[in-house]
């Protein structure tokens, strides 16, 4: 089975993140950039399927030059190779444009299975797996907490929902997105770190994919951020000094906020 894992480099969600004033895009240079947490689980799932069923695992990333770091990190976990879509014109791409680029890159790879994290910790839109599947005209099994591959190549997914889970199936090729309940990602081994340095990473530009630069990036974005402002600092709370009427005042406050 040929698996492609969509990996996105994101700013560390544990650290403070900022938007640039000029174009309202995220400040990537100063941030500590990591592999999107949920994508680690997608890579792990791809490697487990490879160990059970054979085949090859490819990492696909669209991102600026420094995304190469995350690609190496992903490869050190064990995938065979990577494709990096790198083009200055991509900066500021919206989700719709990104899905077009990823779909074009996926067509050149013709995978049986596309795995990705269910969401990215920076965008949190959860739409990319659906969009990519729609563009490729293949099934999207999203939000998986369990994935099994049958003898005939049928994919069965336990789809996590608020109430419990749904069991859905599809034939390959298909897109499957996963939550962090699906497995426990491995840590790169020393040999994995060494081997990652020798693994092939092919870099594709928009021209290689036959995409017009005007359709992507800030220029081709279907949505635009017009302004942003920082979350206001938390203001000091209101102190209630109990002079026999503390309880009443508390309830009055809760009632004024419509909690009671």
């Amino acid at each position: 089975m040929k698996t492609v894992v969509l990996v996105k480099q994101v700013p560390d969600s544990g650290a403070e993140r900022r938007l640039r004033d000029a174009d309202h895009t995220i400040e990537r240079e100063s941030a500590d950039n990591l592999i999107n947490e949920m994508d680690d689980y997608a890579i792990e799932e791809a490697l487990r399927l490879q160990e059970a069923h054979g085949g090859e695992v490819t990492i696909l990333t669209m991102g600026p030059t420094q995304a190469a770091e995350s690609i190496r990190k992903a490869l050190s976990m064990g995938p065979d190779q990577a494709v990096h879509v790198l083009d200055d014109a991509l900066a500021g791409s919206c989700a719709v444009a990104t899905s077009a680029v990823l779909a074009a890159a996926l067509r050149t790879l013709s995978p049986d299975l596309v795995l990705s994290g269910a969401e990215s910790t920076d965008g949190r839109v959860q739409a990319m797996p659906h969009m990519v599947a729609e563009r490729l005209g293949i099934a999207a099994l999203t939000g998986a907490r369990k994935l099994t591959v049958g003898g005939d190549g049928t994919l069965t997914v336990e789809r996590q929902t608020d109430e419990g889970y749904e069991v859905v199936t599809a034939a390959t090729p298909a897109v499957v997105s996963v939550w962090d309940t699906i497995n426990e990602p491995r840590y790169p081994s020393f040999k994995g770190i060494m081997a990652a340095k020798k693994k092939p990473v092919s870099v594709l530009s928009l021209a290689d994919l036959g995409i017009d630069p005007g359709e992507v990036g800030t220029a081709g974005a279907t949505s635009a951020v017009v302004s942003h402002q920082e979350r206001p600092a938390r203001s000091a709370g209101q102190k209630i000094i109990d002079q026999g009427d503390g309880g009443v005042k508390l309830v009055e406050f809760l009632a004024s906020e419509k909690f009671v």
Partner: protein, 362 residues
């Protein structure tokens, strides 16, 4: 001349180990394990040794090892020191591995590299490298009898490497006749035990001078790389303290803005920078089999142990009241620094060795 800088591969290795330890063995979890009576964390060891393949860093590739060397193992030890991780890396992946490399024991090295077993050298943790002392275990044929006190990383070891007057023996730790008696130790994260052998059957790994050479190789590797663990302990203490004095406010300003604290931390930073240089030098010499290894090892041990203790003491002091509580992990680091200061010989002893090695007039 050893290159003291960390290479790209070493940095990546460090990042991976640090990430794993901060997720799998944060200080509060180490403390909880110590309170539970047995700090040893078998799951952590399995991840580190088997999954990440770090127990075999210094084992040759032909035996399934990482084909790296002592420099890389030193980086792992820095991180293990930073986390006061209760795993037998120093005892098994360094000391026992160095002993087994010296006698080229394929079977045991293969098991150690795969993380399938751990081994410990049956010598007191305080044994300094140098002229061999009289073994406290005697062999009658392949049966060993005697006592070894204060052995580190042996409580959960699968195989004991026992020096005797009649050569070096391997003894499976679960063999009848082997007793392991845990000691009450100051350092909770590196438990020690007394070993008692009563006609315990083993097999000979080496005889005569080869045996002494193997033991010396193990002790030298342990002493040289303990310095890296001490460096990690000291670094954690400094980093944690700096973070604390920046966020702890008194008189409407961070306490770190007071010169009395600032200067103490600056001095510590300088000490740690020097400790890093000597620890890297020792690991580098050991890795390349440099003839200067005994000098580099004695220097690293004479220098790094006091730095780790000083850093841990400053950490406790500059944290104020919270630094003296059981709940704050500072005491784990102070105790690790104190036990490390005795491990493989005290700083005094290493200074005396160094004086002889560099021909200082007595």
């Amino acid at each position: 001349m050893t290159d003291l800088r960390y290479g790209e591969l070493e940095q990546e290795l460090r990042g991976t180990v640090r990430e794993m330890l901060s997720a799998q063995s944060p200080p509060e979890q180490v403390l909880a394990r110590c309170e539970g009576g047995d700090p040893y964390d078998p799951k952590l060891w399995r991840t580190l040794a088997a999954e990440m393949g770090l127990a075999g860093l210094a084992v040759p590739e032909r035996y399934g090892g990482g084909g790296a060397g002592w420099r890389e193992a030193a980086v792992v030890l820095e991180e293990l020191g930073r986390a006061v991780a209760p795993v037998p890396y120093l005892g098994s992946a360094v000391v026992a591995t160095a002993v087994l490399r010296a006698v080229d024991d394929r079977a045991l090295l293969t098991d150690l590299a795969a993380g399938a077993a751990t081994a410990a050298l049956a010598a007191p943790f305080a044994t300094a490298p140098g002229p061999p002392t009289d073994p406290t275990v005697r062999a009658a044929g392949d049966n060993l009898t005697g006592t070894v006190r204060g052995v580190a990383d042996a409580l959960h070891a699968d195989v004991l490497l026992v020096p005797t007057g009649d050569g070096l023996f391997a003894v499976p730790a679960d063999t009848p006749g082997v007793g392991r008696h845990p000691l009450v130790t100051l350092d909770l994260t590196r438990p020690l035990c007394d070993l008692s052998l009563a006609a315990a059957p083993g097999w000979r790994l080496a005889a005569g001078p080869e045996s002494a050479r193997a033991v010396a190789a193990g002790l030298t590797a342990g002493a040289a790389l303990l310095a890296s663990e001490q460096l990690g302990v000291a670094e954690w203490c400094l980093d944690t303290t700096v973070e604390y004095v920046r966020t702890r406010y008194q008189f409407a300003r961070p306490v770190g803005s007071f010169q009395a604290l600032k200067h103490r931390l600056a001095d510590l930073w300088v000490e740690i920078a020097q400790a890093r240089a000597v620890a890297r030098h020792a690991a580098g010499c050991l890795a390349t089999g440099d003839p200067d290894t005994p000098v580099a090892t004695a220097l690293a041990q004479a220098f790094c142990a006091p730095v780790a203790v000083h850093a841990a003491e400053e950490c406790v002091q500059l944290h104020g009241g919270i630094g003296f509580t059981w709940e704050h992990p500072a005491h784990l680091y102070l105790k690790r620094a104190k036990s490390g200061a005795i491990g493989f010989g005290t700083a005094d002893r290493h200074r005396a060795t160094l004086a002889t090695l560099v021909d200082l007039p007595g």
